[in-house]
C-alpha cells in the first residue's frame, strides 16, 4: 500500500504524526517548520506524486469538545491525478500567540487564493505569500468572521467599493503594458466615502 509508505516517510523525514481521530486515516500532523519541505516531498519526490492541491481549510478548535493543544489548525488536502484513489491531508497546528504558517503558494499556484481566504476568515498569516489581502470580505471589514468567537450575526457597515485598480495595473505591467495616463474618474475620491467610513 503506497499511502502507508508515504506516511512512514513523512514520519521519518518530517516528524509527522498520524491523526488517530481521522475516520479515513489519511491525515498527518506536521509542524509549521517542516511544512514546506513535506509539501515539496509530496509534490516532487514521493512514490505517488501529489500534483493537485484540492483545498486549504482553516479550523478553529475553540468550542470543539475534548480538544487539547493549539487553537487553530490549517488543513491541506492533496490528490494525485495518476492515482486518484489516494488522498493525503496535512495538518498544521497554529497557536493563538504565533498565528504564522509558511506559504506553499510557490509550489501550487492555486494555494495563493486559498491562503488568502484562510487569512481573511481566520486571520492566520502565511509567511512569504506574495499578496496577502482579504479575498471574500471587504477591505474595511474588522475581525475574522469564521472564528468561533466572532458573533455570527454581527454586521458591519461598509462605505465604499473595493479599489482594485492598483492590482490591475500591476498585472498589466507584468504582461508588458505600461500605464502612461490615468483617467481622472478612476482615481479614488475622498468624497465618495460614505457616512461612517474609516477614511472619513
Amino acid at each position: 500500500m503506497t499511502a502507508e509508505n508515504i506516511f512512514s516517510t513523512l514520519e521519518e523525514k518530517f516528524g509527522a504524526k498520524r491523526e488517530t481521530l481521522d475516520k479515513w486515516g489519511v491525515t498527518a500532523v506536521v509542524s509549521p517548520a517542516y511544512l514546506h519541505n513535506a509539501v515539496q516531498f509530496l509534490k516532487d519526490s514521493a512514490e505517488v506524486k501529489f500534483d493537485m492541491l484540492v483545498d486549504i481549510a482553516g479550523i478553529d478548535y475553540l468550542t470543539y469538545p475534548n480538544h487539547e493543544g493549539p487553537r487553530f489548525a490549517v488543513s491541506y488536502a492533496f490528490k494525485s491525478i495518476k492515482a486518484p484513489g489516494i488522498r493525503i491531508r496535512l495538518k498544521v497546528l497554529v497557536g493563538e500567540d504565533s498565528l504564522k504558517v509558511p506559504t506553499i503558494s510557490d509550489l501550487y499556484a492555486n494555494a495563493n487564493w486559498y491562503e488568502r481566504e484562510v487569512f481573511d476568515q481566520f486571520g492566520i498569516v502565511f509567511e512569504g505569500h506574495p499578496d496577502l489581502r482579504r479575498l471574500l470580505n471587504h477591505v474595511e471589514f474588522v475581525g475574522h468572521p469564521l472564528r468561533k468567537d466572532y458573533p455570527a450575526q454581527k454586521r458591519q457597515w461598509l462605505s465604499t467599493n473595493d479599489y482594485l485598480l492598483p492590482e490591475l495595473e500591476k498585472r498589466l505591467e507584468t504582461l508588458g503594458y505600461k500605464v502612461i495616463q490615468r483617467s481622472k474618474e478612476v482615481e479614488p475620491n475622498n468624497d465618495e466615502f460614505l457616512e461612517g467610513s474609516i477614511k472619513a
Binding site: 470580505n137 455570527a152 454581527k154 454586521r155 461598509l158 473595493d162 460614505l194
Partner: protein
C-alpha cells in the same frame, strides 16, 4: 368616429393625468440581479409572460435611462455601496422594487455578510415575497407600482420644488445683500480712517511749520 378624427379636435385634461399616464405605461426597469430572482425576472420579460404588455418594453442596463430599480437577489455588505451608487445615479422620478425574500429581509441568510433588507440602504416602493417570486407576483408588483404612480401629483411636486427653489434663492439673495452691506461698511470705515489719518498728518505739518 372617422369623421371626428378628421376634424381638428380639442382634448381637455389635467397635466397630472397626462404625465402619470405616460409614466405608468413606460416603466423601464433596471435589473439589479444577483441571484435566482433574476432568472424569474428573465422569464417575466420574455415571450410567455411578456412584461412589455404593460409598457416595460426595454430592460435598460444603465441607471441613466431607467425608471424602476429592480433589486432581484441577495445583497451583501460588499455590494451595498455599489447598489447605493446606482440608485443615486438614476434620474428622478425613480422607483425601487425589492424582489424576493433576500432583497426584502435578507431571507434565510442571517449572518455577518448579508444586508437584512435593502431598505437599510435605499427607499423601497414595492416588496415582493417568494423565494424566488413567481412572474405573476412580479406583474402584481408592477400593477401596484402603477397605482402608486397614478396617485402622485406632478404639479404638486413641482410646486414644492419651485417653493424650495424660491426659498433658496431668497436666502441666497439675503446672504449676498448682507455680505455686500458688510463689505460697504468695511470700505466706509477704511476711507474714514484714511481721511482722519490725512487730517492728523496735515495738522502735524501745520504745527511743525508754525514752530
Amino acid at each position: 368616429m372617422t369623421v371626428e378624427a378628421e376634424k381638428p379636435n380639442i382634448i381637455t385634461s389635467s397635466l397630472d393625468f397626462l404625465v402619470n399616464w405616460g409614466r405608468t405605461n413606460s416603466l423601464w426597469p433596471f435589473p439589479y440581479g444577483t441571484a435566482c430572482c433574476a432568472i424569474e425576472f428573465m422569464s417575466t420579460e420574455v415571450g410567455r409572460y411578456d412584461l412589455s404588455r404593460i409598457g416595460s418594453e426595454y430592460v435598460r442596463f444603465t441607471p441613466r435611462q431607467s425608471d424602476v430599480l429592480l433589486v432581484a437577489g441577495t445583497i451583501t455588505y460588499k455590494q451595498a455601496p455599489i447598489l447605493k451608487r446606482i440608485y443615486e445615479q438614476m434620474a428622478e422620478p425613480r422607483w425601487v422594487i425589492a424582489m424576493g425574500a433576500c432583497a426584502c429581509s435578507g431571507g434565510f441568510y442571517d449572518c455577518y455578510c448579508t444586508v437584512p433588507g435593502i431598505d437599510h440602504i435605499i427607499p423601497v416602493d414595492v416588496y415582493i415575497g417568494g423565494c424566488p417570486s413567481r412572474p405573476e407576483a412580479f406583474f402584481d408588483a408592477m400593477f401596484d407600482l402603477q397605482k402608486k404612480i397614478k396617485d402622485e401629483s406632478y404639479m404638486k411636486q413641482r410646486a414644492e420644488r419651485v417653493k424650495d427653489q424660491l426659498e433658496m434663492i431668497k436666502a441666497k439673495t439675503a446672504e449676498a445683500k448682507a455680505n455686500a452691506k458688510a463689505f460697504a461698511q468695511e470700505k466706509v470705515t477704511d476711507i474714514k480712517d484714511f481721511v482722519v489719518e490725512k487730517e492728523q498728518n496735515l495738522v502735524k505739518k501745520a504745527q511743525f511749520w508754525k514752530e
